[in-house]
Symmetry: C2
């Protein structure tokens, strides 16, 4: 007997209080599964009778809340969220007939061939006024002129939308970075050169985002501009306010910025007006070229 | 005097407990601003001395937690998260010199021209086993063969990543859909034909996602397959379990599915084996062609 149970929920709740979406599985509470518990995703690869004899807990699946089944109910693929994948379809597309579909959806490699580039995340980190956004913009322009598709994730298009529910308390700040990392991963999977431009002052948060991507696909760009220079620029007067004690917890003033030690690219301040965002962006372009990201 | 203050936070907290990211502004608590409160984004367009005489509350900005300034501190652009935008840069790209940058980053129209398509969200809704994923996969294949970039958002790539923190309680189910809608919006903005495949049983949640997109860019595809047919298919045995009372709150059985009344596309079940996902996907392709989404 395999008991599959989760949080008990009353059936037939009102639509507004009991939404029925829920594709997928319970997020794992730790990196290692608990003995006696198997995540639904693990069941996805079980295509023959389950040999597992312990207790299996599936918290929910697409359109459901609570599941309790006996072992015999799960003698085939128990994955609820993978409908249609790996199925073989014989049908016609335009003039082509009897096309066999081994892989259902288009994969990353195919998208990359279409775009003639390789999806990745270019993560620009640095102090306020270090020039992150300017480099991100210059980079997107240069890439566009070369026929490459990039997309910038920044505060404007994320904090106002996806992350509008997040406050600025500690855990929400970490969650903000986590979500940007996850979305950036999706864009990279789509084949896009995704440019994330965030202060992201803590190494732990940046490294967590790096860990989401395949090796080499997370390109950390450190804006290595001395605090003094950023403070002299101070285009918004924020450093002045921080020094005056009117902004608390300002990165670089009374909250730490943990400079990357092994970032893929370091853009250093050379002083003077010649330090254009475009020149800095060209350094990133050279890296992307060298590593083969600008071709499929 | 303009008092700009937010949640008070101790400066110099430990990195693990006081993350310093936070680009952007406090998410608005309602659609209409409270009298006497101005969001930071509103200040972004204020380039001359503020004439506002009331109290301004900025909850946080990039790299900060608490701000308190007097009115005179904000006599220029108070936007913290928009560095580099709309600035005029005279510099060189490759052999081109003195390029003037009116708009900093590449916009949606430019990306669409590059991709020769228009970004949109194709939102496939329907009962479990109604064929959503199969149509999504077929659609992505057909689009790919025509040289168009699409990306599927489904349970696998969202619940395992971005939404892994969400449980299956009511508010988290709604949040799951909200986030998918927001991410889909970003993909559409990137110029991608974004295919979201979710049961999404409640009209309110679907309409909230629709409202995120410009008119016409949210294309609701209703898999109009009778419950009886889905239940007969029952590829995962979920309906059987639901009928046996072993799954509670299963959409269509003991939780409602609110069928769309005005969806852009209705894919109806015609019966028999001829109802291929490819034929259904071709209906969506026809719509996309007719509406001009497959060209820039």
């Amino acid at each position: 007997m395999i008991a599959i149970g989760g949080r008990s929920a009353l059936a037939g709740g009102t639509p507004s209080s009991s939404r029925g979406l829920g594709i997928g599985i319970e997020p794992p509470s730790s990196s290692s599964p608990k003995p006696g518990f198997v995540a639904l995703s693990d069941l996805g690869s079980v295509n023959s009778r389950l040999s597992f004899k312990g207790s299996i807990r599936i918290k929910a699946m697409e359109g459901s809340r609570t599941v309790t089944v006996s072992e015999t109910d799960l003698n085939t693929n128990g994955h609820a969220g993978n409908l249609g994948k790996s199925q073989s379809l014989l049908s016609s597309i335009g003039n082509s007939t009897n096309i066999q579909w081994h892989e259902c959806s288009v994969n990353k490699v195919e998208r990359q061939k279409l775009l003639k580039q390789k999806g990745c995340v270019i993560w620009i980190t640095g102090l306020s006024a270090s020039g992150k956004s300017s480099v991100a913009c210059a980079l997107s322009q240069i890439l566009h002129r070369r026929g490459k598709l990039s997309y910038i994730l920044d505060g404007d298009n994320v904090r106002h939308g996806l992350n509008r529910d997040l406050s600025f308390k500690a855990e929400d700040r970490a969650e903000n970075i986590r979500r940007v990392g996850e979305v950036a991963k999706l864009f990279a999977d789509a084949g896009v050169l995704c440019i994330a431009s965030l202060i992201s002052p803590y190494k732990r948060d940046r490294d967590a985002c790096r860990a989401l991507l395949p090796d080499g696909d997370f390109i950390e760009v450190f804006m290595d501009v001395p605090l003094q220079v950023c403070e002299e620029r101070d285009p918004k007067g924020l450093y002045k306010l921080a020094r005056a004690g009117k902004i608390k917890g300002f990165t670089g003033i009374d909250d730490p910025y943990e400079a990357p030690l092994n970032s893929e690219i370091v853009l250093t301040h050379k002083g003077g007006d010649c330090d254009s965002p475009i020149e800095m962006a060209e350094e990133v372009i050279s890296y992307l070229e060298e590593k083969g990201f600008l071709q499929a």
